[in-house]
């Protein structure tokens, strides 16, 4: 039952891995009244353990890469990573600078790439809408895998994360 509501209102987590702020303020602007990303049930949270969509901006710098991977691993499955802006997709102008490692998909698997420097709120909305579709298909995949196994134990209506099949998550990290 919880899975059903979850795909309808995913929460997003935003991390700046070394960007120039341009994309960050555009994410903030897309939460503002004119674009209002919250129409899709999206809420910007500061807690990785409650989030489903991970918005990453900027190329990965030496000091932020550990935090990036840490935040990614703390998020529960299923999760979708959206790389916002040219520098997080490919490195952009910051490619080959000495303190920039590389694009985001070297470290964590990226599902959606949003181009633009800086990505406009429309593009961010497009990206999040696409991420919602991917989240839904990922949830279905997981439910399918779960049916193959025993039914998860439900205590007080909360699905225990320990009971979730490990296989799907591992496959995700390999891709």
């Amino acid at each position: 039952m919880f899975e059903k509501y979850r795909k309808k209102s995913p929460w997003i987590l935003h991390y700046n891995a070394g960007s120039c702020n341009g994309c960050d303020i555009e994410i903030l602007a897309s939460l503002s009244p004119k674009y209002d990303l919250e129409r899709f049930g999206v809420v910007n949270t500061g807690n990785p353990k409650q989030s489903d969509i991970f918005l990453v901006t900027g190329p990965v710098t030496y000091r932020s890469r550990e935090r990036l991977v840490e935040l990614y691993t703390q998020m529960p499955e299923p999760k979708v990573v959206v790389a916002v802006g040219s520098c997080s997709c490919t490195g952009g102008v910051f490619r080959d600078m000495y303190n920039v490692e590389d694009r985001v998909d070297r470290y964590i698997p990226v599902d959606v790439y949003v181009a633009g420097c800086a990505s406009s709120p429309e593009l961010i909305i497009d990206g999040v809408v696409k991420a919602l579709d991917i989240l839904e298909s990922k949830t279905k995949e997981m439910e399918f895998a779960k049916k193959l196994q025993n039914k998860p134990k439900i205590e007080d209506g909360i699905v225990s994360r320990k009971e979730m099949p490990r296989r799907v998550g591992e496959n995700d990290e390999e891709s």
């Binding site: 674009y35 490195g91 102008v93 490619r95 959606v112 790439y113 633009g116 406009s120």
Partner: protein, 130 residues
């Protein structure tokens, strides 16, 4: 108190500020800086745009079946990566034939997904170039 109530009441009947974006399109100004577009027939293969581009999002790579153009002596093909482009219009300013061979449209770049392999193909091209 009175004022705030009347304001709240007025706001109830106002048009919403929000644009219902994916349903209603937002019209872009014609000068919006969107994707870079290219015309193969008009290009004179001076490679100025490739040199001018700050992140290197334009590449001319030699291929086996190059586009037929008398100016193209080295058998090059134009490649462009919208995920690397920073939309600064420097290539168009460098181009000797702007608006004919290379121009900036007001179209939005598309959203990439993991199966598009936006990076791998591009870095293969860069490896060939080197």
């Amino acid at each position: 108190m009175k004022e705030s109530f009347s304001k709240a009441f007025q706001n109830l009947f106002k048009k919403p500020q929000t644009i219902d974006y994916p349903v209603t399109e937002i019209k872009k100004d014609k000068d919006y800086r969107g994707l870079i577009e290219y015309c193969e027939e008009e290009c004179i293969y001076c490679l100025k745009c490739e040199k001018a581009c700050p992140p290197g999002a334009i590449l001319f790579v030699g291929v086996e079946n190059p586009p037929k153009n008398e100016k193209n002596k080295k058998g090059l093909k134009y490649h462009y990566n919208p995920y690397l482009c920073i939309y600064c219009q420097e290539c168009v300013r460098a181009c000797p034939k702007p608006n004919e061979a290379l121009w900036q449209s007001n179209k939005k770049p598309t959203i990439g997904v993991a199966s598009d392999r936006v990076n791998d193909e591009w870095f293969e091209l860069e490896a060939i170039k080197k």
